[in-house]
Point group: D2
Chain length 496, copies 4
């Protein structure tokens, strides 16, 4: 079986170390192994990044950008291969992987504009003859730790921008889906990136611990679950590192009585079940305002959900694939069981789905739960599976209270035609990313991604303008030239 | 003796609690007492701030700005009184207090521009018919904890901008200099600030601990020493609060062979001894490049230092006043002693200064130490007294290495006429605020203040554009309106 | 009778020249005379502005801003007096003049933020070791030519920002309303403006011609009618001056079937009749979508219009005052006559209004015309009087076509509750300022004011961010320092 | 002989019309013919651009950007071919054409960032519950008219950005060098540009006149000589079009006594003689401060100029090629003759250069004139040939006066090591683009290009941030939603 190694100093390497199985979630079988980096491997990667830093920092931004331009071309050229690698290890269907890749490429496109984004502020005459300006310097070696659910996109929320800003980078992708990440990292080298500027180490908690404690790492970007995000954030702070740690979510859509329900249903299907619900922006709760809205929604959802096809990644006719692992499948099923036990109605039940030819795959069918209440565990926790829950309330005010009482504040959405309702909701809701008739309000790459409350630890959101701030530090220079230099000297010496 | 209390919900209050003496450093005698807030007093302040928040958040930025406009006028009108309060408790001479107040007012001026500063980014058509924009929302109740050395300026790095951004504020000033802070906070109410938006609690560590642990506080701005800054930062992170904590400094000036030495000496006098050196931007080390530069500098400094006058705050002819306390005076003298013991030359000795009529005042005279080396304790620690130390090196490269090896990275400066030398220095030095022939490169209020390394913990610098980012959180809204609304409806019905 | 002169080099002067009567429109009698500047007076003003320029240009922006801070305070302090002067010569009621003044002050508030607004863009390393940045320099002497309808606000769209940018200024206000303008110009001097930086010359076309042709004038801001705006713009271009010339308007409100009609009526009253309709943003045409909407609107308007009170400026219970002159009154009446002749219905007729005690005043009552069509002269021309016209269409599409076919594109508004209708309208309409349920969508001072099509000649809108661009020119500096300066020299000489 | 036609609606077309010879300046022979568009051809192009506009305007910016990304790749891929076409018709040597192309591509790279660049400003709560934001809309059909000296770069200062902003474009390149321009325009279509968005018409004054007068053209960008620029600007203004017209230049370098002369000489060679001096940024006058500086400069220049090689474009060992035409060659020689007659010293004489094998080519050798004075015609006019003139002054102050007295204010440069001298010069000189030790201070593509005085007519500079402003118009939307919509309705109806 093939072993996936690391990318250090521009070389694919495979040091002696422990390995771990990498599964194909559609077959339920291991298909590769991945090396788990030892402390010394991680430290070697950090050393290489540190060594590459001074020259990279001094490379003009436009030259750094041009490598990103070539990277974009290569990603487009090799899209098919990348999607296949994602599908094999993560399980998502090709069209979904293509969507992920497209979103990843958008971040490269944004990074191509780094000369504009790094402009500092210049003031002539802060006082007579004194000028002052700001420069945005890279931090040094920075690290990214990324989750299994977007093997390409989430790493590329981080490293293209960090690198374009002049940093060098250590990436630790999820050890469950290492191949696509490694592949795109390699393409960046093909695009002309100097060795050592981007290094990928596969590993587990031990790897993370080195990254958190090594003094040479100046910043950490993390995306994962809230408990880990919080502990990463705290550890990074303790070690004097800048950190942004994105955690869990429970994204609610509020369905108002005036909404176009057919349109909403259409959009909710993708938002709830796409990628098996394994997205931090998955729309997993619908808050229906009024029972008639709820009844209508449930009926229409139920109809549409019959048409959904679950299956392996390589059949583009499938709507979504398996979840990531057997353990995770059990966890998702457990949440459905608990909801049922707690009194929710299982309107559509995906617990016993079986995919022909893939009987051992980690499949869960699209599930719809109605009459869910806020005291149920299935409501309080992030399920990260293809499960949509319907909660019923009697007013938008109630909907807002309910959403604001949840631990998370990542994304939310309201379906309405009414300008005032939309404005009131988006203004008052304590959530960082708000959609108005847009169920997955993921900001485009030139805006920034970030939730509120326990969905994000840190001051700055991910990618976009905030990403630039995160990956740079401000230097302010104040300048005054003493008089009587060569200019006046010449004048004095005239005319002898 | 008068007791200084708190300002809570727009009222000056004096709850039953412990008190502590407030000294006049010029006389060495206590002149007032200050209440130390109990937990319940702090919590009351937080409750008031919390209650005031919703209405304040919804007040349009321009209306918040207009209160700042009036505040500026009132500060100018009452300047004399403010400077007197600063002098009585801190000891700085009136002209120096006036300088501090001016810098404080600059931050109010910046806050007056809040409508411009809060503008979000709007994109039409992130995709067909979909728009997206960012809004910068206030955080809620935020707190500031400030040091004794700038009783007016440092609090006003924080609360005017935080409040202009829509937050409500709890300020805990230094308990050694409570009066001026309270006075200006009161003026802001006179300017029209609603009750509860700004609250001042005097206190000690117990007060700080409540601010750090209370869940309703969303962010902490701190300025003080590095050990406390670091512990505040860590505690704030642990409690899920945003934090910027500014710590200590050791600011070096590099004197190049081509510098205008007379001009440099002139500026160094104020930068080293102004405010008795009790400034985080005090220029306390001169790195002379070449012995002839060093010799010339020491000789000229020595001459000029004879003319310096130390004395009480109310004689504007004095150059600087006492240090803050008897304990601090002993600490400063101890550093001079240790430097002497370690082999430094005490060129000008301020240890035995006595001010007539103020024999018990906490005075230390301007002191010049030559031949200081990096292994001396006096070099490694922040002295925070009127002590300038000269270190000798042989090249700018050496000077940069020396500065970069120091724990702190707050401010630095180079004296030269040469464009290339200035650019090389400012580009390469690992310090956040760089002066070129400017010995105190404190950024103006519309740029941002922040050191690097152990001089600042946090992602964002203080005040200016970074201050706006610190006191707000980003909300990104993505909007799409469903078709077939009233517009097309009317069109369809047209017939007839 | 008092003669109003000029303000040149900080002095109120009254050179020998022709004079012209200034009327009180409420009484219909002349109350003062105004000097009409000769060529030599204008040239003297330009010379003074030219002489004041170098020092003013070199005054740091923050110091220029502080004069604006004081100016704001003085304007607020003297508001009563300013409103009285406006009322006496223009005729608008005190509450309306107070509104005008408030809008004027907003522009001063914006100008107070000039240090932030003048920041240039700084790039380190456009190529190796080469930096580049932009600076925004003032233009020199610039001029403003302003109309009668806002004697305080429109001049203050111009001179506070132009002056804050570092320019010196010649203002030629309307000779019909010279006093308030002169009064506020004087207050700016009281606020500390150096002599010669702002100069006010009263005059007529001869004055304008000098301003247009004198080479020392670098830019012209104009607000007035479209034919004059166009000729000013062309002349300025021919003479190599930068120019922005704002002309006429015909602002349409589209009333959709789902709108809150009571609310719309309420707002339309002020937008149509406030200031006797003598505003370039007056809402003079309502486009009702569907006859039932039109009928309902006309009925409700008719009821509400009965309550309107027209009268002299000094009775704050009046809703609006007279128009500016007898000639203008005749022109307005003529448009109503022609509409009637062309087939429009005169629903409310303001032609024969008479105000007791002011029988000779230039009053026209609020007038409502229904069934107006686009071929009528009253529709095609800007009436600039208290006349609202109702046009009936059957769809928003028709409304948009109608508006886009009009010569002007200043402001417009849609009344609807529907998000899609609002977005479609604001996206597609060829008008520069769009209100959604806001009938007078005048941008606030920190945005910019400008119409499209024949409502504005020039590239940049008035005031706000565009105003800063208009009053400055970009200088781009690219800098590279040669190596082997003092820095390396010292290093080489290191003795070893 | 091949005839070069037009590119209209995505098709290369060759309508019946007059033709004109296109020369190969190295051989002095015509090599192709170019069609000169008739009025009807130009109008057809405008109609196509007009027809393509609505769909292109509504294409999301990121999709427009992606065509620019592909365009960049294609330009790089076809660089060899493009440089050859430039060389054949313009005469510049391949390495120089490659430099031009690189600069052109930089503008495409900038245009790739259009989503970031088009962001408007959004304000929540300009008043209670009222929001306002700006959008930057394209203008419609815009036109570019470009000169012979940069057949690729100058057109690409214009059309990539204009098109990325959502405009459609008519380009009229120089009829002397039509092929390379047409070639790159074709590549943009290959990159995916919809038909009609970019149209190229070859032609002469008649073509220009149609572009200037047709109402459908909303803006004109022009680069050429000052008399034409001025007349284009005036005509465009008269016809209500936005215009930026860049004219001539006379760029001075000031050589200070402390400058590194060897380095300066090295850089001046390229800046003066590169592209035969046919650049608007050519450095054609050196102002030497002090006679010893002048003497040293002349001697060193003289030595280095011996090594320069003039010849045909296809030998990359040549330093520069012929001038554009026989007539232009005579004009350049005439200026040298006149300078000699007026008393200047012809230190190096390029008048009789002959290139073996290219005896009929339009070659002029590098020429150095010393002791030039400001009254000479050779000083006052733009020569646009390989002629460097040395003027001698005694101080920087004199140098500044001399430069500021010249009609043009395009670019300038100072050679010095002294910070103060550089700052004083760049602050005070009345020139739009300033180099400090950079002889050709052409701003990079993400800054903006523009001279002052008679070098540019218009408010906004070319390309970069100003380019975005030029190619868009501001729309400001103010929005308030009426209360009691669906949101409160639901709430009211509860619970009865």
């Amino acid at each position: 079986m093939k072993t996936v190694g690391h990318l250090i100093n521009g070389q694919l390497v495979e040091h002696e170390s422990c390995v771990q199985d990498v599964f194909n979630p559609a077959t339920g079988e291991p298909s590769k192994q991945v090396s788990l980096a030892t402390k010394s491997t991680v430290e070697e990667a950090i050393s290489c990044a540190q060594a590459a830093y001074p020259a990279w920092r001094n490379t003009p931004p436009i030259k750094r950008a041009r490598i990103m331009f070539r990277f974009k071309s290569l990603l487009e050229e090799h899209a098919e291969r990348i999607c296949k690698l994602v599908g094999e290890e993560h399980g998502k269907v090709r069209h979904d992987a293509a969507g992920e890749l497209q979103r990843a490429i958008e971040n490269v496109e944004f990074a191509c504009g780094i000369p504009e984004l790094l402009k500092g502020e210049h003031t002539k005459n802060v006082a007579e003859q004194i000028d002052s300006w700001s420069e945005f310097h890279p931090l040094g070696v920075v690290a990214g730790i990324t989750p299994f659910n977007f093997p390409v996109m989430v790493p590329m929320w981080m490293f293209p921008l960090a690198i374009a800003c002049g940093n060098t980078f250590i990436l630790k992708p999820s050890e469950r889906v290492p191949s696509a990440t490694l592949y795109v990292a390699n393409l960046l080298h093909e695009a002309g990136l100097p060795d050592g500027v981007l290094n990928v180490v596969n590993g587990d908690k031990e790897t993370v611990d080195v990254l958190l404690s090594d003094k040479r790492i100046k910043a950490i970007s993390f995306v994962g679950s809230t408990p880990i995000a919080q502990s990463i954030y705290t550890a990074a702070c303790l070690h004097g590192k800048r950190c942004q740690a994105l955690g869990g979510a429970k994204n609610h859509a509020v369905l108002m009585p005036d909404a176009d329900i057919d349109n909403a249903v259409n959009q909710l299907l993708g938002a709830a079940f796409g990628s098996s619900g394994e997205r931090c922006m998955a729309l997993s709760v619908v808050v229906a305002v009024g029972d008639s809205v709820a009844d209508s929604l449930v009926k229409k959802m139920c109809n549409e959900m019959q048409k959904l096809k679950v299956g392996a990644y390589d059949d583009n006719g499938n709507d979504f694939g398996p979840v990531i692992s057997q353990a995770h499948k059990q966890k998702v099923l457990g949440y459905i069981d608990s909801a049922e036990a707690d009194g929710a109605t299982v309107v559509v039940d995906g617990r016993n789905v079986s995919v022909s030819g893939y009987e051992k795959g980690f499949f869960v069918g699209a599930t719809l739960l109605d009459h869910v209440t806020t005291d149920m565990q299935s409501y309080q926790k992030e399920i990260f599976g293809p499960v949509m829950q319907v909660v019923r309330v009697q007013s938008m005010e109630d909907a807002i209270t309910l959403i604001d009482n949840h631990e998370y504040g990542n994304g939310t959405c309201v379906f309405t035609r009414d300008g005032e309702a939309a404005r009131y909701f988006s203004d008052n809701i304590e959530v960082g990313m708000v959609g108005i008739n847009v169920p997955l309000p993921v900001p485009v790459a030139y805006h920034s991604f970030g939730g509120w409350k326990h969905s994000l630890f840190g001051d700055l959101h991910a990618y976009g303008p905030d990403g630039v701030k995160f990956y740079t530090k401000r230097k302010t220079i104040t300048q005054r030239w003493p008089s009587s230099g060569v200019r006046e000297g010449v004048s004095f010496s005239f005319p002898s």
